[in-house]
């Protein structure tokens, strides 16, 4: 059985990857590295599945330990999900954001290089590397030059270049993604769509005034449901071209404020929008929408879940989660 090592397995995407692989009988021996045990047990179809994931508790900044673990596991595949993936946090703690993103990845690559593995690596990157783009540049294709506009994005640019150099210069078998914004059930409310949906649930439950707080409501992002993201990751892990980079996106842009309108419409709730100053970043890309033509053309992937369905799933998720909480009060 092929061994798959997932870094950052305890996160939102990690949970969905595991669930997807089990649901597809993908046949991997799954190893996961994370600081803490995952909180997504409920995602799995069967509690048995949880036992089939081998957790290795470790801080990814503990480089010697991570190196030992990788050498011990000898993975055939590495899915590098671990990241500090909040742009807002990267403005508050740029050094931590940079170290957590770039240095960890570099050390993983170097461990594979120095130990002469043939491990195939999928490096998860971000659409933030495109930076501030004009209307005429949309949708963004992989040919577009990078132009990072926040500390998080710089770390992602470094990661992508390092992946390419390790592929071309040292012959490692790596391919990279430029993943656009995600959404879906289980996402933390540190991310904008999840935060807004959660607030709607709180309002519906009568636990919040009919006001929705957000940063800049005018920015447009391309949100892809995590349940569309994970099949793309599997395809790229198994079949993506070495040294190449692929956009993973929905091809659709929504302004943050539009999400509020959609939720108001679906659930019949009228709300006020409050754009709070503290959540507005020093620089923001006004509009990001991607093209998924490359991965569609090469591997046949395309998004299948409509944004409205994503919002409904997230609403159900938060409704269940917050009801559990309040019943436990």
């Amino acid at each position: 059985m092929k061994k798959l090592l997932i870094t950052g397995i305890s996160g939102f995407v990690g949970g969905h990857v595991v669930r997807y692989l089990f649901s597809q009988d993908a046949g991997y021996e799954i190893h996961g590295i994370s600081r803490s045990r995952p909180a997504w047990d409920f995602f799995l179809e069967s509690p048995q599945d949880n036992k089939n994931v081998r957790f290795h508790k470790a801080d990814l900044m503990d480089i010697p330990k991570i190196k030992r673990l990788i050498v011990e596991i000898q993975p055939d595949y590495i899915l590098h999900l671990a990241a500090q993936s909040s742009v807002a946090e990267s403005w508050n703690t740029p050094v931590d954001s940079f170290l957590n993103n770039t240095n960890i990845f570099l050390n993983i690559l170097d461990t594979v290089r120095l130990n002469d593995f043939s491990a195939r690596i999928l490096s998860i990157g971000s659409s933030e590397i495109y930076g501030v783009v004009g209307e005429k540049d949309l949708p963004l294709t992989e040919e577009r030059h990078v132009d990072p506009a926040n500390p998080y994005a710089v770390a992602r640019v470094a990661q992508e270049y390092l992946a390419r150099i390790y592929a071309q210069g040292y012959g490692l078998d790596i391919c990279s993604t430029r993943s656009f914004n995600h959404c879906g059930p289980g996402q933390s409310d540190r991310f904008v769509v999840s935060s807004i949906v959660k607030q709607f649930v709180l309002i519906a439950q009568g636990r919040q005034e009919p006001e929705v707080r957000m940063g800049n409501g005018s920015i447009v992002r391309d949100f892809l449901d995590v349940r569309d993201v994970v099949p793309a990751y599997r395809l790229l892990l198994e079949k993506g071209k070495r040294g190449e980079v692929y956009n993973i996106c929905s091809g659709q842009g929504y302004a943050i404020k539009e999400i509020v309108s959609m939720l108001s419409e679906i659930y019949g709730i009228r709300v006020q929008i409050l754009e709070t100053r503290s959540q507005i970043r020093p620089m923001d890309n006004p509009r990001i929408v991607g093209s998924y033509q490359k991965i569609q053309h090469e591997l046949g992937w395309q998004p299948g879940i409509k944004f409205e369905k994503s919002l409904r799933s997230m609403y159900e998720y938060w409704d269940k989660k917050l009801s559990e909480k309040s019943s436990g009060d």
Copy 2:
């Protein structure tokens, strides 16, 4: 008196910067951080000058100490020269190269940000960020997109983007260079021109067979004399535009093999060229030549020292240094 802090002051460029500033009566209180005391005392016109530089012995990777030092010194200007600047070494030890270059710089910026200095920072970067370019792209201007092709170059790209983000996002007063290859008296023989000149001196002194070892002799680089580099750095430190980046180059390309022909001609020494495998890197940019139009247009700088003069100065340097050594044998 304005305080100037120079990181990496003990290096080749550091020595020339200090000599230049004293020769110009630039009027700075100069502070230098480095791991070891400089070996370039002989550069200074007067031994007295050496006492006017305040050395702070510290490893730049010792982040807490560097932060304390910066807060203590409260510099008005920071010239960030410190770097692991060998492309070849970056292929051998990519992790160290990356950490030494990017993390140190990031921590300096963050110290300035968090302590609300108005320090003006000049970030020294590299032409390596341009990567593999075509003949039609030469000479390279600052508009050219970056495309790093070795681990060192990725660190330099990250550094430049971080400088821009700290300038635009946090309002720090930073400008950056893309410095092309340097040469000049005092340069270490880890760098190609100095290595070749040193070999010529050894051959002339009868201490080496008439064979010159090098890596890939066909690559073309733009070599600027360090004595032209340092006035450009002073101009940019004092007058460069915030958030901008400037090429520092000669505008002339020489193939490595041509340097051998020039030295053969000047000194009347015939040699064999040995291209050694170990010095050839996994990927190499065939040809890099820059344009200095931007700094010339904005600040009136242009190179003044012909390459032949640089070679002669380097020959004298090595001849003196190697004679001292042999007389001490």
